[in-house]
Symmetry: C2
Subunit: 451 residues, 2 copies
């Protein structure tokens, strides 16, 4: 794509010292001294910009923070940074000015909360820049890990007539002022999960995945929830063991982290600088040693023993859902790393999960990690037509809206299972950031949908 | 991911003749003869399934079309097909039965219209199977082409407070029975394009792209329209020439097609079998020779000269939008291949496009192709703050909802541009299929949102 100006990364990595170059980007900082001036020019292709040296300080006269520039000069080895290069400018052109009185992203360090208020400018900040590149590389890594294992990508729909998790916090869709039913032939909402649709394709392609936005009208204001978020979901046919399914989930997390250590090392180091706990977590995720796997029952035991010291707000008791404080204790305090928790009580989980022989629990797994707590949730799916049909009838679904889902168990059913991983939570874990609102380009949550 | 059963493709491509293998999949056909029986078992990993030979016809007794099986046997060279292999079965287990009385996907050839009625079963059909693999490979190719050119992927939002194209056919979003404004702090709709949001990131990363679902409450029932579809959008900063932008769009189409010739040759051949016109189009798209580029004014000339023979329903006249019949004539009849049409009259195009010096036209381009007609649309964007502010005021937007968009022109603006390509249309072009409803896994359109 020869018509595009090269990225700074390309210039620095493949330019030879002495070469004549043209640098385009945005000015991050300007320093004017008596006999020389410096500017850092960035274009998002690297953590730090390129240093431009001006032998005549007058050349910097028109440069302000945030302005866009085209600078011609000579590429030279940087005396300051090893294995880096800088540009000695011969000509400077301001492409687009930036009024220093009003430009909201000044040199000083801004809080992430402030940066959220200038969501259309914050991509130029170093932190959001690093998040964006890490996110980009992470997406590529997810695709690569799954494709290398012959998973087929399926574009499950955002608009759906089926609500996977059953009831709850969905967004309704309307057209032209009319409810959706007037446009479509039924009530339509935004998907909370592509799982049911993915099961259709698992029943034809064996290994499938989706990497799509999902939507929850979640009213709670936490750093872990968004109204719109991206999710990686995988579904595998001919799988009848939870350990095999955990192997797949674990391979995804480990493989993606490893690719990132190759393709986004500067970004990972930027976030873990001075945070040895985070650096250790990243190494642990990439390590070949299997992540610990405990049952829900064992988890309750651990939590009850810990309660004397931890003083949980919700007392851990068998039969109740695990709360965030419990998940946090297991991942951050007890295991200090990733841990799978399996076989939860049936009544805490959705209808489609495969019942265990004990009659009390289902074949499911959650992957808990320090930071976002629940990173991944999955299960074997009930593949028995008669049992699932009874379960659906018990739920009171009598409108036939799940007949197609039952059909998958009528015609060549197989033991199968899958999981979903929140993509923002995955990145939250790797960056150690407090809020997923800083992980997604344009966060949407209760009370906020700007831009 | 060792716990998963291997795909048939893996077994056929890397298994050695004589090896003992276990094959899992779904039975497509069964043929029972006097001394031998045959079954074709498929798992979506290849165009055709694997042939299983049973030396005892009794072994096939439980096999019916659509049932899922686990078959153990010996891999042998196929006497029928060159460079292929088949399996001589020693043991057969039906994993999930399929009642031959009711299974809707029988051996006989079904119409695509009928397959749409059984959307949860159709992925097992040969045509939808081929579409799904082609779609999967095409997505991978798009990412690869853009990443190889250092584009950064941005997840632009589906929920938006800004409606890019201005007015028109958007879906509104509501939460918990309340309009969206009660959940968010404003009116929220589903995005029709990620362009405006992508411009934010182009102003920090130079080259960015999105590959997301987009939504239009389009009432028309054509083979080219969906309510939910996927779009590849690219945006480039520091680009001030339409030819450079067309180079990028052309490189995307050519590069993706070339990758598909490497990674999905059997699928491309399946669709172009007996259709030399389609085969020629695919070759043309991959060919290095530049796609023709004409101005809208030249296009009108061509159409007016053709009108005597073509007898257009809408008479081509300068100043009017091109109709489908016009686009079809240009791409399918006149150029018989891809053609860019540039510099349309300003009044036929949205507010953000860069005006040309003539005062009548804007710097835009559409890529027309045989089949879906309009494959891609793009433009240079107006990067001048004062002019764009006037244009927005002229439109009557006075609520400040585009202030952030104007801000991009206040702080380090650059000449920039981008385009969007309908992903289903791209695949419609390559498959020659009449309707995009057969290209997307679960089609949504006026009157229909099943599953």
């Amino acid at each position: 794509m020869g018509g595009l100006p090269p990225t700074l990364r390309h210039i620095v990595e493949s330019g030879t010292p002495g070469a004549s170059v043209t640098v385009t980007g945005w000015v991050r900082t300007v320093r004017v001294q008596k006999r020389v001036a410096f500017a850092e020019v960035s274009d998002g292709s690297m953590l730090r910009g390129v240093q431009v040296t001006m032998d005549d300080p007058q050349m910097a006269a028109a440069l302000t923070t945030g302005c866009s520039v085209e600078i011609t000069g000579q590429l030279v080895d940087s005396p300051e940074r090893e294995q880096s290069k800088e540009v000695r400018a011969t000509a400077i052109r301001v492409v687009g000015a930036s009024d220093p009185e009003h430009y909201p992203l000044q040199k000083k360090r801004h809080t992430l909360e402030f940066l959220r208020e200038i969501g259309h400018i914050r991509p130029r900040s170093q932190t959001i820049g690093a998040v964006t590149r890490l996110r980009d590389r992470a997406e590529a890594a997810v695709h690569r890990v799954l494709r290398d294992s012959e998973f087929v990508r399926v574009h499950t729909p955002a608009l759906t007539a089926n609500d996977c998790e059953g009831g709850g916090e969905t967004f309704a869709v309307a057209a032209g002022g009319q409810p959706g039913a007037a446009f479509f032939d039924r009530k339509v909402s935004l998907t909370v999960s592509g799982q049911l649709h993915l099961e259709v394709f698992a029943g034809a392609f064996k290994r499938v995945y989706a990497f799509n936005p999902a939507f929850r009208a979640e009213p709670s204001q936490t750093g872990r929830h968004l109204s719109e978020f991206w999710m990686v979901e995988a579904e595998c046919a001919f799988v009848d063991s939870l350990p095999a399914l955990m192997d797949v989930g674990e391979a995804l997390v480990r493989g993606t982290t490893r690719h990132l250590l190759d393709t986004a090392a500067p970004e990972l180091e930027f976030f873990s600088a001075g945070n040895e706990r985070l650096a250790r977590l990243v190494r642990r995720l990439a390590d070949p040693q299997q992540y610990p796997r405990i049952s829900y029952t064992e988890a309750i035991d651990i939590l009850q023993r810990a309660d004397a010291a931890a003083k949980f707000e919700h007392k851990p008791r068998w039969g109740r859902a695990l709360q965030s404080e419990h998940e946090r204790h297991l991942a951050a305090a007890h295991f200090q790393g990733p841990v799978f928790v399996t076989d939860y009580p049936a009544e805490t989980k959705p209808f489609y999960m495969l019942p265990n022989a004990d009659g009390r629990t289902v074949s499911c797994m959650d992957l808990l990690v320090p930071g976002p707590c629940e990173l991944m949730g999955g299960s074997l799916r009930d593949h028995d037509h008669a049992r699932l049909a009874r379960r659906i009838a018990d739920l009171g679904v009598e409108d036939g809206s799940l007949d197609w889902y039952l059909d998958l168990r009528r015609y060549g059913t197989t033991p199968h299972g899958g999981f979903g991983m929140g993509f923002e939570r995955f990145l939250q874990m790797l960056t150690g950031l407090d809020s997923v609102r800083d992980i997604i380009p344009f966060p949407r949550h209760a009370g906020r949908c700007q831009y």
